[in-house]
Symmetry: C2
Subunit: 189 residues, 2 copies
């Protein structure tokens, strides 16, 4: 299982946002949508061995984590609006500490980065890290930030983790995900 976790620093934590204003009113949820679809889609197929964890830290009720499992997810299309509509449905559920399913393959719970880091060892995707092409033992779980840098508190949380770079330029999170998946695909083929 390959895992991507993406921190959405302003991504709203209520389900009534407008699908017509994902960058503004929904707190850059467009970024999380692209990370989700990039994680899960192949051409005319899905990556059944990938899960994508979206950490939402925006108002009014943070933190929440939405988990999409490539193995089980249905009704997801590659466009941002479709992905956002599945996030809306999940955000309409009451949250507890355990994952509640809003539909097959899509679940939401209370909690954010602290809890994810307790459960799994992540590598941080960061342009100052080791070059992914030179790493022999590639990790299976990767942590990314949205358009905002990690906060000082978040940086403290991930300080001891492995930092991996996908290339010489600073890229959008979804582009980094594509590059990680390509490296994993090449090593398996």
């Amino acid at each position: 299982m390959i895992t991507f976790a993406v921190v959405g620093h302003r991504a709203v934590t209520r389900g009534d946002f407008s699908l017509n204003d994902l960058p503004g009113g929904a707190g850059r949820i467009d970024i999380l949508c692209r990370c989700l679809t990039t994680s899960l889609f192949l051409s005319h197929d899905m990556r059944r061995d990938v899960e994508c964890l979206l950490v939402l830290l925006g108002e009014p009720d943070p933190p929440k984590t939405i988990r999409f499992s490539g193995k089980d997810v249905r009704y997801l299309s590659p466009d941002e609006r479709s992905a956002a509509s599945l996030m809306k449905k999940a955000l309409l559920l009451p949250v507890t500490g355990d994952y509640s399913f809003s539909m097959p393959g899509v679940a939401i719970r209370r909690g954010g980065l602290v809890r994810l880091l307790e459960e799994q060892t992540f590598a941080v995707l960061d342009e100052s890290g080791e070059d992914i092409r030179t790493i022999t033992d590639l990790p299976q779980a990767f942590l990314l930030s949205d358009h905002e840098n990690m906060s000082p508190e978040e940086k403290n949380l991930v300080m001891g983790l492995r930092h991996i770079s996908v290339g010489p330029r600073s890229l959008h999170a979804e582009h980094a995900i594509t590059l990680v998946l390509n490296e994993l695909d090449r090593r398996r083929s």
Copy 2:
């Protein structure tokens, strides 16, 4: 200058499509939007040395080509809706054989793949091609198809061109663009 050209086989050629239904009513224009933003965006910056050519072959008035130049484009945000809104504005212009600008960095003209291939030598991104990592003299112009395979006529047109693969899996067009740009970034750094 690096060029990406993407063929949108059903992408509508009128400017009155709904921004709320890019995959359906607009003929998978969502794919062209993602190819465009992937071509041009870095994190908090744009790729000024890239242009993206979107070939629209859908009804009612094909073929048309919209050109986005990273050097000059303004008012483009990374979300699909923003990109589609700039395409709508271009599609509202009357077209001639010469590019007409709808705004800085965005222009449209009559014509499609035949004309592009007369003007520039493209490499075709295709999973059965040579592996991009093993190619010493990388081309600067790349041709992709949307979710549909190239038609027999299109295949004939590109038969003599170099075919390049970005990896072992069949990917969405925008993911292939990310992988080409990463390879170019690495060779320049």
